[in-house]
């Protein structure tokens, strides 16, 4: 029997088959990191298909569900200190006053599978928390998420807090979410906005490289 291709199977979102391949590869003694790397490559294809409007949000969410199971199967076998090298650090959170997380979670997920180390601050995040995390991690990219219109003001305040802390020239700031457009970007003082998760990945790659 020909060796089944995890990259293709996972990219095609065949849950059962993909999990079977992982199980048999683990049994056969395949390197766990190799399996995770294949999964990551599959998710890169998923991201590309999303950018090409071949896949949509349900497909991203479903790919995440499958990946979660694969990671749970493989992770216990990965030895400490073996984790793959990351492209760079990104701080992400939903701004103060807003508790929406679906969009933010998809951005975090896509940044992660595209090789970034992501610090997810969660929802309803005060400006100071972003500032503290940038200082602590030395991240070069910050992503502010918000679904509600009240997020416009919070995003602006967060950008100003970063400026006040003397970090504005150290970081690039991207924003995204429901009602965000170029007009809102100008209002908030952010560097760019992304209309979906893959645009966020593209922006981060452009700023950090990779």
């Amino acid at each position: 029997m020909a060796k089944k291709d995890l990259v293709k199977t996972l990219a095609d979102l065949k849950e059962k088959e993909a999990l079977e391949i992982v199980e048999s590869r683990l049994k056969a003694g395949d390197a766990p990191l190799g399996i995770l790397d294949d999964a990551r490559r599959a998710l890169e294809i998923v991201g590309k298909r999303f950018s090409d409007c071949e896949y949509f949000i349900p497909d991203l969410v479903y790919s995440g569900e499958i990946l979660k199971q694969i990671t749970e199967m493989v992770k216990p076998k990965v030895k400490k200190g073996q984790e793959a090298k990351r492209l760079g650090k990104v701080v992400v959170g939903t701004v103060a006053g807003d508790i929406h997380d679906i969009g933010k979670d998809i951005v975090v997920f896509m940044l992660d599978v595209n090789g970034f180390e992501v610090f997810d601050l969660g929802i309803d995040v005060p400006a100071q928390k972003f500032v503290d995390k940038i200082k602590e991690t030395g991240s070069k990219v910050v992503g502010l998420s918000g679904f509600l219109t009240v997020a416009f003001e919070s995003m602006k305040e967060t950008v100003e807090a970063i400026k006040k802390a003397g970090l504005r020239n150290e970081v690039k700031i991207m924003i995204g979410g429901g009602q965000i457009d170029e007009q809102v970007r100008t209002f908030t003082g952010a560097d760019a906005y992304g209309k979906d998760a893959m645009e966020g990945v593209k922006l981060a790659k452009g700023w950090i490289g990779g």
């Binding site: 509600l148 965000i180 209002f187």
Partner: protein
Amino acid sequence: MEKKWEEMSAKEKREARFKTWLSAEGVKFESPEAEDTYRKAIMRFKDAVLLEKTPDRVPIFPLGTFFQAYLYGVTPHECMYDYGKLLSASKRFLQDYKPDYYGSPAFIGSGKILDILDYKLYRWPGHGVSQNSIYQYVEGEYMKAEEYPALIDDPTDFWMRNYLPRVFGAWEPLTHLTPFPNLWEVVGVSGWMIPFGIPPVQNALKALIEAGTEAMAWIQQIMGFEMEARGMGFPTAIGGAAKAPFDILADTLRGTRAIMVDMYRQPDMLLKAMERITPLYIKQGVGMATFAGNPVVFIPLHKGADGFMSDEQFKKFYWPSLKALILGLADEGCVPFLFCEGSYNTRLEYLKELPKASCFWIFDRTDMANAKKLLGKRLCLGGNVPAGMILTGTAEQVKAYCKNLIDVVGKGGGYIMAFGTSMDDGKADTIHAMIDFTKEYGVYK
């Protein structure tokens, strides 16, 4: 002799519903001018929506939640706990801005009732979010993946004993109640009552009485405002509400992540569940519209927008039950009002399947020129004034934007001026610009 309701055609029913709306039963108009303004606003709406003749001008319906209060410095927390403050701001908004219709402050609801019930589906001002934040949905699986058969078997029992105990802390003990159809003869009555003797069940019932008492206090104040607003010459343009069956599953029951996985893991169950609940929401919309004496049924659309699913998924999972809901409501003489946030560019072709004037659509980020081209002869289209521009732009910018909307989408009628989203906050100069400019420039000659 007048025809019996059940003998009427859909068109006759719709006409009868408009007649009831126009009759303004129980409204005390503050002047003959107010009465005239009221009726003209309804006729303007009717002409725009039914596409039978060109209205006198473009109707203006700025719909929102907390924005009227925001304009007068009333916080979301005050709106939900001090109804008087909300209502006086709502009244001042009508006096100062004079839109054609009012959006009901009932949309906001009472925070006190949510407190009593210990509501889990949302956070609200002062309860999980700050007093200046609006209420927000909490993602979660309020129905489990394996519960589709129970929902399909008996939706009412599912709501009563599975769903409500999860979304209301106070309702939790009511899982002990015996199913209602189990009661059939005298021998069963005494035993059937036993759960009502359990102390936690009795406490739950006490909480419901308390919530009900507050609901009466709340609705009295709301209705006071509503009758006053009508007396001032402003009709409401919403009679009832319903939801797309997919969104009931996706927002109310399963949550966004779970529903997306269900499309892959149990598509047949999902389809069966939507088919099962669709008639319930036709019934809800019709019932509310009849009670309110207003044909318009508000349907906020969520998870079928561009990007939220593929064309294939929309065609399979979202559209059939939404279409059945729209047709079912229209068949009873109602006017479904599809409130379509996000964009619907890839869905417009489906809307061609809807009969002429069977409903109207308020769009957010949809390409309006294209929508007019594809659907203008068939359906009334409205909205598209961006929230971002209203909140961060200038009056001049808004006027230019509205001018283009009136020129392109308003051409020949069939357009309603509205925000693209339900506004949570606002800005005086831009909202004035939208309303005042449309009153002047939107007149059909």
